[in-house]
C-alpha cells in the first residue's frame, strides 16, 4: 500500500498557480526526498497533505483512505515551517500539549523519550522563547515524532540544526522507517544530507512534479566519472578532450565521463608529459543531478 497517493493536485492563490496537476506517490516505509526551488510548491503540497490547505483540484489518499478520514489523520506527524509551540510555555508543557492533542498513551514517558531522542531532555524546563533556533527545531522534530506517527511530514527540518542535530535526525528517521515502517516526506535544500537517507525522490518545479525516482534508479541515472587533478590543467583538458567524448572542468579538477578508467587516464596524461596530483572515481551527486535536471526542465516544461 502507498502511504500517500496524489493525483492531479492543483492549488491557486488568486491567479498564481502554486501547485498545478501534481501527481505523487510515496510508498509505505519510504523516506521521500521532496526537492524543488523556493516557491516551487513543496510547502503548499505538504500543507495540503496535512489538511491545512484546501486544494482547488485533485485527489489525495493517505494509506488508501480519503484525507478527511479521522483514522488516518491522527497518524500524521508534521513539522511545517514552525514547531507550533507557545513561547511563554516550557518545552515540556508544549510537548505535553501535543501529547494530549494526539491522545498519547503514557504521555509523560513518551514525551521524555522524544526529548531524549533529540537531546533536549536537559532543556525540558526552559521556556520555548528562550530556546535557540536549533533547539526550537529539535523540539519541533520531537513533537512530530511523538507517538510513532505512521506518516511524518517534515518541511526543511534540518534548517538551523548543527552537525550533531543533523546526524541525530538522520539516525532517527532511518530507525523510524526501518523498525516502525513509518513513511517520511522530507523537503530540504541540503541535498547532500537528503542523499544519505532518502529511498525515493520527487522533484518539483513550478508546481509540477518533473521527476519521481527511487534511490536505486537515481544511482543508475547518475553517471560515474574519473576526477583528476593535473598540474597543467589547460593542456590536460585539451588532450583529454581529443580522446574522450565528455570532459568538464570543476575547480582544479577535470571530469572524464564514459568508460575511462583512472589508470588509463593517468597513463595517457603521463605519456604526454603531464603529471597528475590526484585521481578518483566518483558519481555525480544528487545536487548536480538536480541542477542538471532543472536546466533541462527549463526548456521542456515552459
Amino acid at each position: 500500500m502507498n502511504a500517500v497517493e496524489i493525483h492531479n493536485l492543483s492549488k491557486f492563490f488568486g491567479q498564481k498557480k502554486a501547485v498545478s496537476g501534481l501527481d505523487m506517490v510515496v510508498p509505505e516505509g519510504a523516506i521521500y526526498g521532496f526537492i524543488g526551488e523556493n516557491g516551487s510548491g513543496k510547502s503548499t503540497t505538504e500543507k495540503i497533505i496535512c489538511g491545512l490547505m484546501r486544494p482547488n483540484n485533485g485527489q489525495i489518499k493517505l494509506f488508501g483512505k480519503d484525507l478527511s478520514d479521522e483514522d488516518v489523520r491522527h497518524k500524521i506527524g508534521c513539522l511545517i515551517e514552525t514547531p507550533g509551540c507557545f513561547p511563554n510555555l516550557s518545552v515540556w508543557q508544549n510537548m505535553m500539549i501535543q501529547a494530549a492533542n494526539i491522545s498519547l498513551r503514557n504521555p509523560k514517558e513518551k514525551v521524555a523519550e522524544a526529548l531524549k531522542l533529540v537531546r533536549m531532555e536537559g532543556s525540558a524546563s526552559n521556556k520555548f522563547r528562550n530556546c535557540s533556533l536549533g533547539m526550537k527545531q529539535r523540539v519541533g522534530i520531537a513533537m512530530a515524532l511523538l507517538g510513532n506517527p505512521a506518516l511524518l511530514i517534515l518541511d526543511e527540518p534540518i534548517n538551523g540544526l548543527d552537525a550533531d542535530g543533523i546526524r541525530i535526525m538522520r539516525e532517527v528517521l532511518t530507525d523510524l522507517t526501518l523498525k516502525k515502517k513509518c513513511s517520511v516526506i522530507i523537503s530540504s535544500h541540503i541535498l547532500g544530507e537528503l542523499e544519505k537517507i532518502a529511498t525515493h525522490y520527487g522533484i518539483i518545479r513550478r508546481g509540477k512534479m518533473i521527476k519521481q525516482v527511487t534511490a536505486e534508479e537515481l544511482e543508475r541515472e547518475c553517471p560515474k566519472y574519473v576526477a583528476i587533478k593535473p598540474l597543467d590543467l589547460n593542456s590536460a583538458e585539451n588532450l583529454l578532450s581529443e580522446k574522450y567524448i565528455k570532459v568538464t572542468r570543476k575547480d582544479n579538477f577535470l571530469r572524464i565521463y564514459g568508460d575511462a578508467s583512472p589508470e588509463e587516464t593517468v597513463n595517457y596524461l603521463f605519456k604526454h608529459g603531464i603529471k597528475v596530483e590526484e585521481v578518483t572515481t566518483e558519481k555525480i551527486s544528487l545536487e548536480e543531478y538536480y541542477i542538471d535536471l532543472m536546466k533541462k526542465g527549463e526548456n521542456e516544461i515552459w
Partner: protein, 254 residues
C-alpha cells in the same frame, strides 16, 4: 504489525484539557482578572473623590457598578449604565482575539488541524473555555466592586431589588457570555493570525450588541431574564459556532 502509541483523539475532552492547560498557563488570564478586579475599585473610588457631597456623586450604591434597575437601564444610557460590569464583554473580545490569534500565529493551529479533520470540537471547546474565562473576570469584577464600594464608602443597600435579583442579574450576564464568545470566535477564526483585526472586529460587534445588555440583565432580574439570556447564549453560540466551523472548513488554516 506496527504498534502506534497514538489513539484516536478523545474528541472534546482532550481539546478542552489542552485549552484549559493553556489558559491557566497564560499570563493573559491573570492580567484580565487583575484588570477586572481593579476596574470597579478605580471607578468607584475615583468617582467619589469629589468632596463627598451626595448630590454630586455619580454612584450612590455599589450595585450600580453591576447593573441598573430595569426601567432606568432600558432608557437611560448615563455614565453608571456605561461604566459597569458590562464593560467586561469588551474585555472578553480582547481575550478571545489574543487567545485565538496566538494559536494561528504560533503554528499551534497547524498541529491541531493536521490530526483533526472535524473542526466542531475546536469551536465548541473554545466557546466553553472563553465563556468560562469570561465568567472568572465577572466574578473578579463583582469582588472588586465590593472592595471598591467599601473603600469609597458607598451604600450596599439594594433599592428596588433583592439579593435574588442581584444573583439572577449576575447569572444572566454570565449566561450571555457564550453569545459574545461565539461572535468573537467567529471574527477571530476569520482573522486568523491578524490579532488587530480580530480584536477590532470583535469590539465593533460587541459594541453593536452592548445596548441590549442592560435591558436583558437589569439589577432586578428574575428567572425569565436568566432563561432568556441562557436561550440567547445557546442559540447564538450554536449559530456562531456553526459559522466558525464553516469558515475553518472552507478556508486555508495557514
Amino acid at each position: 504489525m506496527v504498534k502506534y502509541d497514538r489513539t484516536k483523539p478523545k474528541k472534546l475532552k482532550s481539546m478542552l484539557s489542552v485549552d484549559f492547560l493553556r489558559l491557566f498557563a497564560s499570563p493573559l488570564l491573570y492580567v484580565l482578572i487583575g484588570v477586572s478586579f481593579s476596574l470597579p475599585v478605580l471607578i468607584l473610588v475615583m468617582t467619589t473623590l469629589n468632596g463627598g457631597e451626595e448630590s454630586t456623586l455619580i454612584f450612590t450604591s455599589v450595585w450600580q457598578s453591576i447593573s441598573s434597575v430595569s426601567e432606568e437601564g432600558a432608557t437611560a444610557m448615563d455614565i453608571t449604565s456605561m461604566m459597569n460590569i458590562n464593560l467586561l464583554f469588551f474585555l472578553t473580545s480582547v481575550l478571545v482575539g489574543i487567545f485565538v490569534s496566538e494559536e494561528f500565529k504560533s503554528g499551534y493551529a497547524k498541529n491541531i488541524f493536521a490530526i483533526r479533520h472535524k473542526k466542531g470540537e475546536y469551536v465548541l471547546s473554545k466557546i466553553l473555555l472563553l465563556s468560562f474565562s469570561g465568567a472568572l473576570t465577572f466574578i473578579a469584577y463583582f469582588l472588586g466592586a465590593i472592595v471598591g464600594g467599601k473603600i469609597a464608602g458607598l451604600s450596599f443597600e439594594l433599592t428596588n431589588t433583592s439579593v435574588t435579583g442581584l444573583i439572577f442579574c449576575m447569572l444572566s450576564k454570565i449566561a450571555l457570555l457564550p453569545l459574545f464568545s461565539s461572535i468573537d470566535l467567529l471574527i477571530s477564526v476569520f482573522a486568523k493570525q491578524k490579532t488587530w483585526l480580530s480584536i477590532l472586529g470583535s469590539l465593533a460587534l460587541s459594541a453593536l450588541l452592548f445596548p441590549t445588555i442592560p435591558m436583558m440583565t437589569p439589577l432586578n432580574s428574575g428567572i425569565i431574564n436568566l432563561f432568556l439570556c441562557l436561550a440567547g447564549g445557546i442559540i447564538f453560540a450554536f449559530c456562531g459556532g456553526l459559522s466558525s466551523k464553516f469558515i475553518l472548513d472552507h478556508t486555508d488554516i495557514v
